[in-house]
Amino acid sequence: MTAAKGFFTDTSLCIGCKACEVACKQWNQLPADGLHFTGNSYDNTGHLGASTWRHVAFVEQTLPEALGSIEPQGAGNGSSFGMRWLMESDVCKHCQRAGCLEACPTGAIVRTEFDSVYVQPDVCNGCGYCVVACPFGVIDRRDDDGRAWKCTLCYDRLSDGMTPACAKHCPTESIQFGDVEELRIRAERRLEELQARGVRGAQLYGQDARNQPGTGGLNAFFLLLDRPEVYNLPPDPVVPTAKGRESWTFAGLAAAGMFFTAMAGALLARNRSVR
């Protein structure tokens, strides 16, 4: 196996230009999702979906405690007027323990030699189970197509030694692509740097199993400037399978119970009739 590849998305560098969204659509030649004005800041995409594999979130925050303060933030978040505007480019996390992958009954979803999670469109039968199994709400089935789709980590490009389209085109290197191991180190260093600059709320999200035990770490992880919820990310996601064992146990017990009930009933009836 080649080294695991992934993204470190450093939101402190994002300028919300959406180049990643369009570059992804362009490379993958995805259809548009229609024209829907949301009024949610500049985010008219809303969410990742079957034909949106990159999504840029926009969060306008007034910082009450900073009102009137003109201290530069150092991280550059223009907050001299008590306001900041957070932007984050969201994508499939290519989880170490991927809910979608573990849930897929057809084997349409596989893990590749780059340690990414890939949906094979020639296999997927659209059962929709991956959709509910992803703790991040990433993968989705396109109704009119019938199959589930998500970021491929540009599997086709990686196979030819190319950088994924979104990372390549990101003007500010907010999306950094590379070996996950190396990205992790870079991310830790970046976090320290930002903390030293006094950037409020800076935190890593999902860089390893320690940070995110529920998923065993993400191959596409993030540096956030606020709590995950602010960006619509779950604070403590967990791969559903991790809790599945318990469920199976109860299913087994219940099944056994049922069988015993049935046996008991049958025996009872037999005894009665014999008597």
Binding site: I15, E21, F37
Partner: protein
Amino acid sequence: MAENHPVGFQWVMEARERGATIIHVDPRFTRTSAVADIHVPIRPGTDIAWLGGLIRHVLEEEAYFKEYVLAFTNAPVIVREDFRDTEDLDGLFSGWNAQEGKYHVDSWQYEGAGTIPAAGHKHLPADAGAGADAPDKRPATLQERDETLRHPRCVFQILRRHFSRYTPEMVEQICGVPRALFAKVAETLIRNSRRERTAAFCYAVGWTHHSVGVQYIRTASILQLLLGNMGRPGGGIIALRGHASIQGSTDIPTLFNILPGYLPMPTTKHGGTLAKYIQGNRSPTGWWSEFPKYIVSLLRAWFGDAATKENDYLWGELPRLTGDHSHMTTVADMADGKVPGYFVMGENPAVGSPNAGLQRKGLRNAKWVVVRDLAMIETAEFWKSAPEVQAGEVRPEDIQTEVFFFPAAAHTEKEGTFTNTQRLLQWREKAEEPPGNARSELHFVFHLGRRLIEKARASGKERDLLLRSLVWDYPTQGKLQEPSAEAVLAEINGYTWPDRNPVPGYAELKDDGSTACGCWIYSGCFSGGVNQTARRKPGREQSWVAPEWGWAWPANRRVLYNRASADLEGKPWSERKRLVWWDAAKRRWTGEDVPDIIADRDPAYRAPPGVEGLASIGGNTAFLMQSDGLGWLYAPTGLIDGPLPTHYEPLESVVKNALYGQQCNPTRLEYRRRDNRYHGAYDDPAYPFVLTTFRLTEHHTAGGMSRWLWWLCELQPEMFVEISPELARLRGITHGGWATVSTARGAIEARALVTARLRPLQIQGKTVHTIGVPWHWGTVGRSTGASGNELLALVADPNVSIMESKALTAHILPGRCDRGRHPSTLGPTPSPLEPGDPRRDLPQVGTKRPMPTQEP
């Protein structure tokens, strides 16, 4: 910048990561503000006051870079005795002529020496006094100076007096910027300037789209010169220009007032001879003394053998300007039926130009219109889908304009060069043939030209002489008979005449007709017969200047005025900031970049007084194009509205000018017409809010290149306006609901995006609300909506005829638009001109403002 030049912004982000401080001055909190260190919300239209405040601060705190200022600027130069400043005349400079409604600039001149603006006079009012008739042609080398900067009439002292009232308190009163924030910015700027550090200013149309737009940039120039930030790495004033080749279309201008390479268009003032034209525009000193070579080579390139020394190279046959023939003037004339034929190629004025309704009225009143574009646009469908047609006010059947739509080839379907915002020419290769009958402009002009030249040959009339003489022999290629763009580029580069060997650069051009050159500043782009603009040595294999990628004018120089990066002896001011320097051993200038000075001019050389020509360029000359080689803190000539920037309110404002009795720029271009009504100068009760227009990263200008693309449309699917929660509350507008914005020119509806990114400002004791209007939408395309330019008026900066789109007044109401008749569809009956608001001008300014056009 993050919004509209996102990929350029990577360098800003990189600088930030290396410790640079980013300050963003913008009325709105934008994506740029989001990553900046300091955001300064400013009232639209007040940056001169803001920058003026910084200048005053730098001067008062003695924070300027003294050695630099003394070495390279005109701070010590002494100005004529009869000069009067706005401080003396309540907002006017000396020389105001109420009869003509403009300044006579004699009194602005230096003591003892004449001046010619860099690159001559590009605008018509360059008449009496501005140097065109050159009352004072004494060479700049004769100017009087006071190196101690104490002389009361030296530029430095004038500057001090001029800006003395631009105090932080005044800045707060005018711009709405709190004093503490001002202090913070001033301190940051100063800390990051002068010898060891540099600061750069980036601007785009947030600074230029004002009736004082040019003076905005002048203010920044003064500040940068004082801080020693010009011509140095990481410094300068960086114009972030608009379209892919907007710079190119200015250098090789499809503009009325200049010829290629910024040579002025002939005007009637130049009379009939080339000599008179040269006399009025050539500077005796500085690089501009080479002027004759460029005009003669141009004429040779255009008219070939027909242009001879004897016939003045046919200069006398060139068309003349008599006034302002700029876009807005032409369209107003067209609306009055004076311009029957109109070509629009790669522009969409029905959406992009101010007072869109008036633009369309112009199209309706033309006889024929040719539109060339990639896709269907509003300018071609004005007779079909315009708002007034949709509203039934105008019937297509009644529109007598003949319209031709020619499909254009896309950038991948033709070869040629774009010049980007850093003056870099980059050659594009061709990927495929254009579809169907789509053709490049090169194809269109060339074959149209062929047809017209044939007609001219047949006519034999005198007026067709130029056409008959035109050098139009470009080779064509392929099935489509596409003219060779390289052949055209070779002509632009220039060659010897008549054997057509490429010249290596403009230094080799001659004024005797032995060279031909289509654009002298581009000379060198094809040197050695090699297309230098097609060079593509990967950036990572070169120095940080990357001189072997494309080709920059002039002479592949990447940083203009880079001589200023070294001190008087030619040593870099700072090793950290070195760019070019004097190599004493080789007796040559050298460095990372091509030095912006004559290569072997010894730093110690000083021009003897009175000397002319290139010999007037001293080894200390950092601003070669200026007649005196100096950075102009004070502009004795070249500007129509004053030698120093002065804060005037926009034509339409919400407050009185706090500094002067003169409310607006006295020389602004007004178009007083019934279909172009103006609001009151200030406090107009019908239009109580400030309106500013802006762009979105997701769309491109008038939308022809973005509103057809789903991938972009879905990102910003609908027209909206940005307002603050306070304004929304005040007007009862709900977030996401409809709002109607109106001015005297029109009304539009849009979704309301209520956001704290817009904040009300406290100005002179009142709350000022700003409405932010993106203007990308129109009636054609996959995402349609109202165009912001329905709201704007024709009104312009006098120097460059640029519109005032960034500061005006408007009204906003909740709900959809229920507009009355569109002002531009009002009948043809002549009406008395609107008198104009007397509060705009001091009484002595008079009412005789020359208006570029009037209704018939």
